[in-house]
Symmetry: none
Subunit: 421 residues, 2 copies
Amino acid sequence: MKTSIIAVGTELLFGQVVNTNAAYLSENLNHMGFDVMYHFVVGDNPGRLRAKLAEAFEDTDLVLLTGGLGPTQDDLTKEIVAEYMGAELYRDEKVAEDLKSFFEKRGGHMADNNLKQAYLPVGCTPLYNASGTAPGFALSKNGKTAVCFPGPPRELKWLFENGAKQYLEQFMEKKMFYRVIRTIGIGESDLETLLMPLIDGQTDPTIATYAKEGECSLRVASQRDTAEEAEAAVDEMTARINELAGRYIYSYDDEELVEVVVRLLKEKHLTVAAAESATGGKFAAAITDVAGASEVMKYSYVTYSNEAKISMVGVPAETIDTYGVVSPQTAEAMAAGAKKVSGADIAVSVTGYAGPDADEGHNAGEAYIGYAYEGGSGAVSVNTSRNMRKWNRNYFMLRMLRTVYLLLTDGPEPENGSKKQ
Amino acid sequence: MKTSIIAVGTELLFGQVVNTNAAYLSENLNHMGFDVMYHFVVGDNPGRLRAKLAEAFEDTDLVLLTGGLGPTQDDLTKEIVAEYMGAELYRDEKVAEDLKSFFEKRGGHMADNNLKQAYLPVGCTPLYNASGTAPGFALSKNGKTAVCFPGPPRELKWLFENGAKQYLEQFMEKKMFYRVIRTIGIGESDLETLLMPLIDGQTDPTIATYAKEGECSLRVASQRDTAEEAEAAVDEMTARINELAGRYIYSYDDEELVEVVVRLLKEKHLTVAAAESATGGKFAAAITDVAGASEVMKYSYVTYSNEAKISMVGVPAETIDTYGVVSPQTAEAMAAGAKKVSGADIAVSVTGYAGPDADEGHNAGEAYIGYAYEGGSGAVSVNTSRNMRKWNRNYFMLRMLRTVYLLLTDGPEPENGSKKQ
């Protein structure tokens, strides 16, 4: 089905906001077999929005619009789409109630202009928004369909996953099934080379690799006449991928590494603690981002200074003096100390240079991941050779997760330091 | 001057690439006082590019195009623009020479199709590209101007800074100045209501509100004959905004809240520590994401369990038993304890229900932010009424930052708990 996307918002035309919504919707629509032909961006201007909506519907039958559904005066998308489709607005009592309780629960009063969001076009399919205040909706007339989303990317994604996607499935010619396989410990080009026998000349299922920060994902997709056939084709291909790359795979279901680690810790009734220097709490924050993390993490330590490494997790001052604060010995002592003081089953640590600058002839991106578990303790060296602070900190955190993942599955990383028994 | 931007590339319509070029050009064009009215994205399809180019020139006199200037068969932007302007192509010998030496320097031979890039429209202003192989160009006819850039962002930026910007200055009518004001602690609609006396019927400077996660930004922009007049108009409006909403403003210069907090802590030579339950390390991770954070944070505590609150930061067990773990009393004790054990000048804490579910009749999104500083200690209550764990955790973290920000500026939040002296 021929599709276009119209993003509404003057902030996009000012260059203040990048139009990631169009990329997100395009990727998902293409996965579903829709043919995205145009993106448009217009400001909060009724005349120009009216004109571009008409242009979009000249060439395409499905138009997705993002932004301009909020409570403010310049939010006009809903009104223009309803006008184009010749639909009146009605007050949707569910939205009105949701808005009232949303503001009541927060103990705040609701500014009257918020009720603007409770009006929807007659005959639309409402897309109720549990992730924000403005609902989306879908509206069809004479074979032309408009689907409207709020502009905040988080809300747009929630509404796409929880309503819009299901609504759009009625327009899919073929049934599609796909699976995202997540790997860690191998780069994109190496993974592609490894899987070339499967990728080469392959038409369906398709295999695509996506590099993410420090990870690589595989998307295996099939479009067949029935969902069952598509799923069977993906399953068969997944088995062949597993034969070639199984040792790098940590999820067949697009789980985040941290979700897998927390799930494994729960299953094994184990707890984890961290002593974080370079990541300054990112590991603990990632673990506790997963619902139910209180079962697996009780204590964690941000030991950003030498004194904190000594007083919070008992790193011997001599270790820092002798080997330096960024050393495998200090990393191992941090992990061993964190395990001891927290009583956790597994402890992991990091000490390193996040950058952008580094000290004493070390380069940014150099770090050591320490670990301690019943089988002993050790440290793994990491070196990104990048001077990008945030990238390095995220990568260090992923490597801490990988270290814990390997302890929970195959045991420590081969390149690790001393493994005492 | 009315302007549109057309990005050419099927990869954008697949969602594989985000259209950052449009944002970059829009921001720079707005700074120069151009009025960007549309962004378009089309695939590598001559018919559709031809159609959108004609549409863009219907409403706007200046069209910037990105992508489709390379050596391959589907690079068609130059040919379509030349055709639209009625210009033949000529072989530009400088480009041809540059291409030859480019490949010679790399010791490789040049594939013949690269010479395609040496052909430019007769009468154009070439934009020679020292950052890559494909030149850009500007071409005017009958008051309509097209400026073409290669798609790779690095090359586009180089060509904009080294040629295109200077070329476009001939069209500048007015000078623009704008400022982005960041606020926290007030929702978008409340902020708009508060500022309605300034927004209503306001033509220049314009005031626009943008909601971000847990925050809201204001963009104040003016276009005048001189940059000085525009800046003066924005300054005058900023002062009026400050009168109405000053207590919510934390930056007049589009800084992140965490950057402001770390800067203020450095300026005042103060250190901060946190005791984090619901946020599980997000506050410490945010502070240490800022380069040079080691000056302001030495120790921080992830006290995810009751035992950790007691043993790590010395919360009295009776406090938890008497008032509950999610209570202002526990939050205040966590902060007071964190200040004591870390020796930090300011300590902040959080205890609450991140969700998605909550316990004992409490709702997800309820939390208490504790603080302790030389002036005393207290706690602030927060209630988002959202069952979105990640959103709540991020909002709690922002409120912890706001609490520290207020301690560093106006003193504790008015709605806070006991302020002991």
